[in-house]
Every structure is written in C-alpha cells, then in structure tokens.
C-alpha cells in the first residue's frame, strides 16, 4: 500500500487535520499541513503529509542526527532525546513539512501513522478523508480507479527529489476560471 495525495479532490473540510491529532501516539498534535491556496481568488485548498523523501533533506541538515529513516522508507519524527529544536529541518524541507513545537522544543511531523500502518491499518488522515484526496491504496488500485496519474519525482530548481508518497497529477486539464463572474450571462453583456 502506498500513500497518494491529490489536491484537486480536496474539499477543504479539514477532517484530515482534525483526525491526525486523534492518533494514539501524538494525541493533541496534528501533523497535517493544510492551507487555503488563496481564498479570495478560489476555493482551492491543499492538505499535505510528509512526502517521506528517499534522501530526506530534513535528516541531512539535522546537526543532532535526530531524524531517522526506516527500512520501510518512512522518515520518522525527530527523536525526543536528540532533537535540540534548532529548526534546521523546518527551513530545509523542500515541501515545508516539519513543524517545531516550541513548548516541547521538538520537531514533529507526519510519520505516516507508524502505529497504524505497522499493524496493517491505513493512516488516520487517509482513512477519514471524505473526498479521498489523501488515499492509502495499492498502486494497482490507483491505476485502475483514478483518472489522475501518480508521480513521486519532484523538481526543485536543479534538484530532483524522489519520495515515498505519490502526488496525483491531472491529465489534459486546461486553465479553469474560478471567478463566478466569468460564468455569468451578465458578464458577457
């Protein structure tokens, strides 16, 4: 099973964000990165989890060696005794994922619900997401059922980042207006 993110399906309900903090291992702390893209211009919203990079920049820049990647490809949250709260990872992550929790002087981020995925359950956010913008499924299921196509290679300037989490990309979509006025009859007069 792999994790797939499709912002085009997101309805901005924030169920993922609310459910994440209900997970047993970190109750009260949500690791979901959620935002309105630009509410004035559009209804578009985007919710992200950690992409779990193959070569995680967050771990590379950590002076305390507090961020570990497991054999399963999951990049863990910072280890509590090691993390010195320097926020290097926060600044370095190309996706803007890790968050520093000032009260605990600890970086925390999505660990793909390690407690759940390690016992065969789906991550909490991908289970509850009503539009399945966040989905945990086999690549075969995604290939069969989705019209968008997954990719896990990202280009940041000259740097290429490969990740464990897949992003769904639209096929053959033209520019779409989101200003209601552009759709109205009066708008043509």
């Amino acid at each position: 099973m792999q994790f797939f993110v499709d912002p085009s399906r997101c309805i901005g309900c924030q169920s993922c964000l609310n459910a994440c903090e209900e997970c047993e291992t970190h109750r009260g702390v949500s690791m979901i990165n959620f935002d309105f893209v630009d509410r004035r211009e559009s209804i578009a919203t985007a919710a992200y989890v950690c992409f779990h990079c193959e070569d995680p920049t967050c771990a590379e820049v950590c002076p305390a060696d507090a961020i570990k990647k497991g054999d399963d490809g999951i990049v863990q949250s910072a280890l509590e005794p090691r993390c010195i709260g320097c926020a290097n990872c926060v600044l370095a992550c190309p996706f803007g994922i890790p968050k520093l929790h000032p009260k605990r002087e600890l970086m925390m981020k999505c660990d793909m619900c390690y407690d759940r995925t390690s016992v065969g359950k789906k991550p909490m956010c991908a289970t509850v997401c009503p539009s399945q913008a966040l989905t945990f499924a086999t690549p075969e299921t995604i290939a069969r059922e989705r019209r968008e196509v997954p990719t896990n290679t990202f280009q940041f300037g000259r740097e290429t980042v490969k990740t464990k989490v897949f992003m769904m990309t639209p096929v053959g979509v033209d520019e779409v207006s989101i200003d209601v006025a552009d759709y109205m009859w009066e708008a043509r007069a």
Binding site: S8, R9, C10, I11, G12, C13, Q14, S15, L17, N18, A19, E21, E22, E24, T25, H26, R27, G28, V29, S30, I32, N33, F34, D35, F36, R39, R40, E41, S42, I43, A44, T45, K99, H101, K122, M124, T127, V128, C129, P130, S131, Q132, E145, R146, R147, V176, I178, D179, V180, A181, Y183, M184, W185, E186, R188
Partner: protein, 739 residues
Amino acid sequence: MAKVPGSADAIRDQFGPHLNFEPAGGWQHESQHAPDKLVKTHCCFCGQQCGIQLKVRDNRVVGFEPWEEFPFNQGMLCPKGVKRYLQSGHPDRLLDPLMRTDAGFRPTTWDEALGTTVRRLRELQAKYGRDAVAVYGGASLTTEKAYLVGKFARVALGTRHIDYNGRLCMVSAGTAYKPAFGADRSPIPWSDIPKAQVLLVIGANVGECAPITTSYIWRCRDRGGQLIVVDPRFTPIARNADLYLPVRPGTDLQLLMGMLHIVLRDGLENRAFIEAHTTGFEAVAESVKPYDPRAVAERTGVPPEAIERAAHMFAKAERAILLHARGLEHHSKGVENCSAAINLCLATGHFGREGSGCAMITGQGNGQGGREHGQKCDQLPGQRSIDDPKAREHVARVWGISPEELPGAGYSAVEIMEAIHRGEIKGLLSICFNPLVSLPDATFTREALERLEFFGVIDFFLSETAQHADVVLAGSLQEEEEGVVCTAEGRVVHIRKAVDPPGNARGDASIFCDLAARLGKGQYFPYREPREIFEELREASRGGIADYYGITYERLDREMGVFWPCPSEDHPGTPRLFEGGVSMHADGKCRFQLTPWRESGDPVDADYPVYLTTGRVVSQYLSGTQTRRIGALVEQYPEPRVEIHPRLAATFDVDTGDLVTVTTRRTELTLPCAVVKTIRPDTVFIPYHWAGDKSANRLTHRTIDPRSKIPEFKVSACRLAKAGQAHAQLPTATGASRV
C-alpha cells in the same frame, strides 16, 4: 412570560457555549489509557449517518476509531464526525432538570419538573382547548423517538399541532416526490452515483454539507463521468465540474424548465419511457414552451449556451443522475423546483435504472427516518397521510384508540410559531429544535417565545431557545439511547447505545413515557426500552409506504442496514425504488407535475438590490447547539462571515475583514466580510449556525411554500453598507493555535 431570566452573561457563564478541545483528563492522560470498548454506531451530525466506532471508558465517549467495514462511508468522516465525541462529558451538559427563577435557572428534581410540566399543560388545555398546546420535534432524534413524539402529541396531549424541524430541511422534496412517485425517499442508493455518465448537482453544496457524497461524485468522475454544478456559489465540488452554471438565487425553476424546453425542442426526450411509465407529459411539455434559452438566461444569469450544453449533456447520457438539496428546496416555490427536477429526469428517461434517477440529499441526522413515522403535522407512521381514513383506522388500532380520537392535521413548524405569536397557541413542549436560531425572522420568533404561557423543553444543552423555557428536562445525546435512523440513501441503520446519560439526565423516551403517565395515558406508553417502541413502530408502519415491518435490530446489525420498504423478515429491502420506472401509485405510473412560476416572497428591488442566501459550513451542524461547543469545530469557522464578490465589494469600498451591515426588510446585522470570487456579484452569503447578534435568520423572512410549508431561506433581498473594521481574516487552516 418566557423572557430569558437573569443576565445574559450569567446564563453564558453557567450554560455556555464553552469550548471543549480535549477529551476528559486532557490529551496526555487520554493517550495513556486504553478504552473499555469500541461501540459501532453512526455519526449524529448529518443525514449521511456515517458508520463510526466510539471509544468508551468510564461511561464517557473519549475518542473514535474509523469503522471501515461499514459500506456507506468505509471509514471516511468529516470533521464533525471526527470531533463529535467531545460533546460527551462536556462542561455545559445539563445534568439535572431545571426550573426557571427570576434570576436564572435552578436545578430541581424530576418530580417537580415533570409535575409542573404536566400541571401547566393541563391547565392551558382546560382553559383554552386541547389545540392551545403544541409539540415540536426534531429530525436528529432516532426514529423511535420521532415516532414517540408524534404519538405523545396526538394520544397523550390530544393536540393536532405537532411538527418538527425537518420542516426546515427537505419537505419540499418530499412534497414533490410523493405525488410524482407515491413515496418520499431518495429513489437511488448512493452506489448508483458512480455509475452515472452525467451528474447534475443543483443547489447542493456537497463538499460542505454532505462531505462523504463527494467521494461518490469523484468516483463517478474517475470512471469518465461528467459533472454539472448549478449554484450561485462556486462550491468546493464546482472546482472539478465540467460545467458550472452560476444560477441567480430563486431562479432554479426557470433553469430547469429551460433545460426541458431544449430537450423537447431538440427531440432528446425519451418517448418510449414517457409513454410506458408516465402521465401528464403533454401539459408539462406545453408549459415549458415559453422558456427559450435566451429568456431563461435573462432571468437566471446563466449564459444560453451553457444551458444548452447542460441540457444536451444530461439528455444524451445513457445514465444520468440529478442530485439536489436545500439550495433547490428552501424556496417559496420549493415544491415546484423539485417537481421540475423530476420532470427533467422523467422526460429524459433517467429514472428507475442503475445509475439513473433523481435524489434529494437529506440534511439532518435522521432527516429521512424522522419524517416517516408521525411527527410531521400531516403524516402518520409509515408515511401515511393523516387525512386517509384507512390510515387513521390502522394506526388507531395499533395505538389502541378509536380513529375519532386521533386528531387531524395541525400546523407546520412556522405556522405553529405564528399561532404562538398571535396568541392562539399558549403552551409548547419542544425537543431537538432550536427555533430561535433555525426559524426565519428570529426577532419574530423571540417575540413569540416571550408570549408563551408555558414552555417546556427537553434538551441536553441549554440552547438559545431553551433559555426561554419555564422547565427544562435534561435529556439524552444520540449515543445515550439505542434506536434506528434512516440515512439519506433510505437505509435504516442501528444506533447503538454507547454510554448512559450523565448525572440525573435521562433518556428522552423515558421522559415522554413519564409525562404520558402523569397525563393519565400511561397505558398507551408502556415501553421499558427503545426496542419495544421499534416493535410497535414496525406494526404501525406495516402496509404503509415506509414499511418497516420486516426490519429488526438484528437484521440491521447483520446486513449493515436495510433499505425500506421491507414488508417481511424474508424481504431483502429495497435499495433502488421504482425499479423499471414503476412508481408506488396504484397505476404504477410516474406523474409529471406542472410547475408554475412564482416570484420570491422577498423580492429584490431598488431599496434592497442584493440577494441574500444562507446555508451551512462544513464544521457546524444546524443551529450549532452541539457543534458551537466543540473547540476544534469552532476554530475552523469561528463566526459568520458575509461572502461578497470583489465587484460588489468595490461598490461600497469594503475588503476582507471589514464590518458590513446587511439590512433586509426585517432588520439589520453587522458582520465581518470575506471578499471572494466564488459567489455571484449580485448575491451575498451568510451561514446561519449562530444566535443573537450573529444570527443570519434575523434577516430572513417567513414566506413559506404553500404546500411544503418550507421557509424561503435561500432568497432574501438586502442592501449593504460599510460599518468599520474588524479583526476577521479570510479562512485559514485551524489547528495553528492548538499547537
């Protein structure tokens, strides 16, 4: 006189709303203790009734776990479902019955509370007649409770005035579907939605008001289905629409008749279906002749070519589904709107087959089940008409009374409030209804409540309406009493009891049974538990339209719900109604209905040039009695905002965060605005979940549809003025402040 006693601040200190952010004992405490049990049940906060498992420890709901096996939502939940557990053990919870005093409310014994309620209701009935007392019910109650409320009003009190807050929900749809097909239920199960080639979603903000339905719509798109969205606002699902029609508030009827005009003009109707399965086509065909695309564009603000394209897409598809909700139904011509939607489906033959049909998306928790078994003023259990002598005889026999003792049809919800206002109704007993927030024209509602000679309320939190009560009977949350509900799909599901009511609060059903006993009618209300009510309800519904006779709690558990009608225990239930286009009318025909045009009851003019429309946000449920007490849900959308298009905002120089005064023919309201391009420039939107000086329903009007009696929440006329600066911002992610 039922004015709110004491000071508003004192009431707020004592009864809230306070925000509950964390489970009992705090997050840390919670994560260190395993739950005693997981209870498979359903979310209480909308008509989808998602399956959910509640974590229970020490008689409190302390969290949730997704229930992935439940077929409808497969573990999916919206934020209301995720956070619903925080209403359990809430500091505002009523733990004792309350009596009004001059200074506020004092806790009392059940004996005094029940005794006073019964004495006062009796006195009023003795003095002014039986119908001087009315009962309000609600569509978030389990079906057992809804049934009980109807029976209690008619048998224990003998009043004909019993109605419920479903009157504010989807009665226009029911009133249109019944004459067309003989039954009031979504004709399709949701599993049909992904099978359509074209989905026409009209007046339904699916992403926010029926979030799980989004996944069905996206599954349809994944299979190549096309999506048409009709709404004055660019709602979250419109983002993925193949065609978006920005209809002007109140003109949906023109649009639907215009689409039918095009279908007939271009010969795209399904003649074979019309001839084999329908009546009344010719008259309807004649009636849409004047609705040519150009004329319709003028009225609706939708370009003619977009109307043409929508009509062609819908008619030419082999399988197409039309989904509608409150946006189509909350109008003084709500029934005509729904009938026009039905006419379009019948004319194109999109009906009674897999992946084809029309469906209402019911809103309230038990919006469907709550209207089927007798708390509607004009219906008896089993969706039977109260005017039908056979139905009266059947129900009277099950109840052990004579048909003559059974009162006739009474007033609807808005009409009851008007009768209170003019002094015709003197006493009210209300459960699961917060009319001060949810009825239109809140100032009028407040005046009416203040005129009541006796007001008794059954509630778990002291809602704004309950603050006007003389006696408050501390009742139960959904998770505190067993029962069934019927989902938007028509699937009856089992609500399991997770915890006992806390303190001295009691199960709602037992409160009604006690009241009945004190009214001297105890023999008609002998139930010891909800199951016994359900057994009687099965009999009462037997042979009716919504026939539950073959449904048992055990079957619901085994089969993950059963779709009605289900006339016998070996009947599999009926996921898709009207299979093959055969209606439940005696002749099996579906009936086209004429849909004459009417103007809104609150027309836009030079003094009030802007349309005001109201609705919901994803993090709040109805009048907010429950969800305005749950911290995370409040943070997500803390207070109502007026949505305004930049073009309209520029005309009076406001920007996001500024305060705007919205004035209608009733009164004015000042709220922060959000300037967004996702709404028509001639329309503003305000969500209605709040009370007092944040209550959108102070602005709305009391015009109702003459048949469904639904208020016209979706169209009011208003004018706007800048009122200063506020601190409000555009919506952002919640959670930041919780970190």
